[in-house]
């Protein structure tokens, strides 16, 4: 894990409010372990907002690190204004990763901006030729940046039905499970979605790993600010998203 000034190689809009940035970060190569890991970004030199922003890594190839982010507030907006050729201070890679179980068919589910780690996992499985399913959910079609390919088990859902399957990411799940009863779910997305997946997978006794978010100050396990409730299976009331996570077994999490 290092703190570096990374060159912005590209920064472009993928879909409505969704951007992708590519950073030159060859120095991080040794520490990169896989999907789930994140970086902490210093958005601006101004102290108006003192803290860095965590962003999941959406890909790492040939020393180039990709993030996918949503314009959410002033900080992410500022990020979208940064030009290729500028430098961005990043710290990372931080956090743990999804753990694939070779016996189980991976079902990847990404929602909204939470698709970054899921996207990376998808690309890795694809490259390794590992069969898997990918479900990406969004509110409407304009937020999607790929096409659905049902033959390849790449499915899109939209809340408003404007693209792909109408409804939440849970809608296509039973069909996939019918074909692949021995599956494991890997997901990242907004909390209501993760809750729904937690409930669904508990119900079906499916193993699931969820990547969760929390406000962070340090990203290093120092400030104890990113604690979340984990009075599920885990033996402690709180866990730190930055060092114990961001990936947790669905059973550990207590969304309250």
């Amino acid at each position: 894990m290092k703190q570096i000034d990374a060159l912005i190689v590209a920064n472009r809009q993928l879909a409505h409010q969704i951007w992708q940035m590519e950073l030159a970060a060859p120095d991080l190569a040794d520490d990169i372990t896989g999907p789930g890991q994140f970086i902490e970004i210093l958005i601006s030199a101004s102290w108006e907002k003192p803290l860095r922003r965590p962003m999941s890594i959406a890909g790492y190839t040939d020393g180039k690190l990709t993030i996918i982010y949503k314009i959410f507030g002033p900080s992410s907006h500022q990020l979208s204004q940064r030009a290729a050729g500028d430098y961005l201070s990043i710290m990372g890679p931080l956090g743990n990763t999804f753990t694939i179980n070779n016996q189980l068919f991976p079902i990847l589910i990404g929602g909204g901006v939470g698709l970054a780690p899921v996207w990376w996992l998808h690309r890795k499985l694809e490259a390794a030729g590992t069969a898997h399913a990918l479900i990406l959910g969004a509110r409407s079609g304009e937020e999607h940046f790929i096409e659905s390919q049902p033959d390849k088990n790449i499915l899109l859902t939209t809340d408003d039905g404007s693209a792909g399957i109408a409804g939440t990411v849970l809608v296509p799940l039973p069909a996939i499970l019918a074909n692949n009863p021995n599956s494991m779910v890997f997901s990242c997305g907004p909390e209501p979605m993760l809750r729904a997946i937690q409930e669904f997978t508990a119900d079906k006794q499916l193993p699931a790993q969820l990547s969760v978010e929390s406000y962070m100050a340090c990203g290093l396990g120092i400030c104890q600010g990113c604690a979340i409730k984990t009075d599920g299976a885990r033996n402690k009331p709180f866990s730190l998203v930055c060092t114990d996570g961001p990936v947790f077994d669905a059973g550990e999490l207590d969304f309250g």
Binding site: E48, C218, Q224, A227
Partner: protein, 312 residues
């Protein structure tokens, strides 16, 4: 002066103890020190103040625990820590190998608790430089009022701790009082070697969409550049009344801030929130401080202490 070859002496003294330089890292913002080793040569720091340790391990407050504000942040971690036993068994050994001086910050909810933590450390052989006593904790045996808002309780606690250690004893003052100098004097008159100021300001913010506080415990502690003027004012007021050294804390992000605190009366400083943005900032600040003093032909850091030239 470009090309000058003056060798700046950054060392500073707190009581009988000398430190290599005045740039410390503040309790709760640097863990137990070694977490940052991969990012910076922490042995260069003036001192590491470890996070508050209590008698028993504490899991801390329920989330959410932190939130950002304009120029600062609010936290209510709830003194999550491993407890003094594990501090001694797991962390002290690593700290002692780290190369930097370190100061143990202690918290408690009764004065006996503070005492026991200190006694347990005194009982072993360690090269700990001293203790910083976090008195911004509710005193449960005295009705839940913070130790640090009462001169009497501060006096009593200082006196009891002083009897049990020869090491550096620093009382860490709360800014949430009508007169911080009264608390500082109580510490000084009862044997403290130094005071540090300030801890966080009581602050709060609300998420207007959920209508919930941003912090589970509703109120939290405000830190960061936003509070620097309160820190400077506190150090200045203390410096005019106290004769023991003062450690300045609050919103420090640069060597310029270190000098500002020093002119106000600080003999050393601690960096808090800025560590979250850049865990290596302490090291950079030490280097910048050296260059700045070099450029101004100031050969001793200590010559700046309390040198503010007021108008009146």
């Amino acid at each position: 002066m470009p090309g000058s070859l003056i060798l700046v002496d950054l060392s500073t003294n707190l009581g009988r103890r000398q430190f290599a330089n005045p740039v410390f890292v503040a309790s709760g913002t640097f863990g137990y020190g070694f977490e940052v080793e991969r990012l910076a040569d922490i042995s260069k720091l003036g001192a590491i103040v470890t996070k508050s340790v209590t008698l028993e391990p504490r899991t801390g407050n329920p989330p959410p625990r932190i939130v950002e504000t304009t120029g600062g942040m609010i936290n209510s971690i709830g003194l999550a820590n491993v407890g003094v036993e594990r501090y001694i068994s797991d962390y002290l050994p690593q700290l002692q190998g780290g190369g930097a001086d370190f100061i143990m910050n202690i918290a408690g909810s009764t004065s006996d608790e503070y005492l026991k933590v200190l006694e347990k450390v005194e009982a072993i052989s360690t090269d700990i430089a001293g203790y910083e006593i976090n008195i911004s904790c509710p005193n449960v045996s005295e009705g839940g009022m913070e130790f640090g808002v009462s001169a009497d309780q501060t006096a009593r606690l200082t006196r009891r701790l002083r009897k049990r250690t020869e090491r550096l004893l620093i009382m860490k003052l709360s800014p949430n009082v009508t007169d911080i100098t009264a608390i500082g004097l109580a510490a000084q008159d009862n044997g403290a070697d130094a005071v540090s100021a300030i801890n966080t300001l009581v602050g709060m913010s609300i998420d207007i969409n959920s209508q919930r506080p941003d912090i589970y415990r509703t109120l939290g502690g405000l830190s960061g550049p936003a509070i620097k003027p309160v820190g400077i004012a506190s150090v200045y007021k203390l410096a005019r009344k106290l004769s023991i050294p003062i450690i300045g804390i609050g919103g420090i992000t640069s060597a310029e801030d270190v000098i500002e605190y020093t002119l106000a009366g600080a003999s050393a400083v601690q960096i808090g929130t800025a560590n979250f943005r850049d865990p290596a900032c302490g090291i950079n600040i030490i280097n910048d401080l050296r260059s700045r003093l070099e450029d101004s032909n100031i050969d001793r850091y200590q010559s700046l202490i309390g040198q503010v030239k007021t108008y009146q």
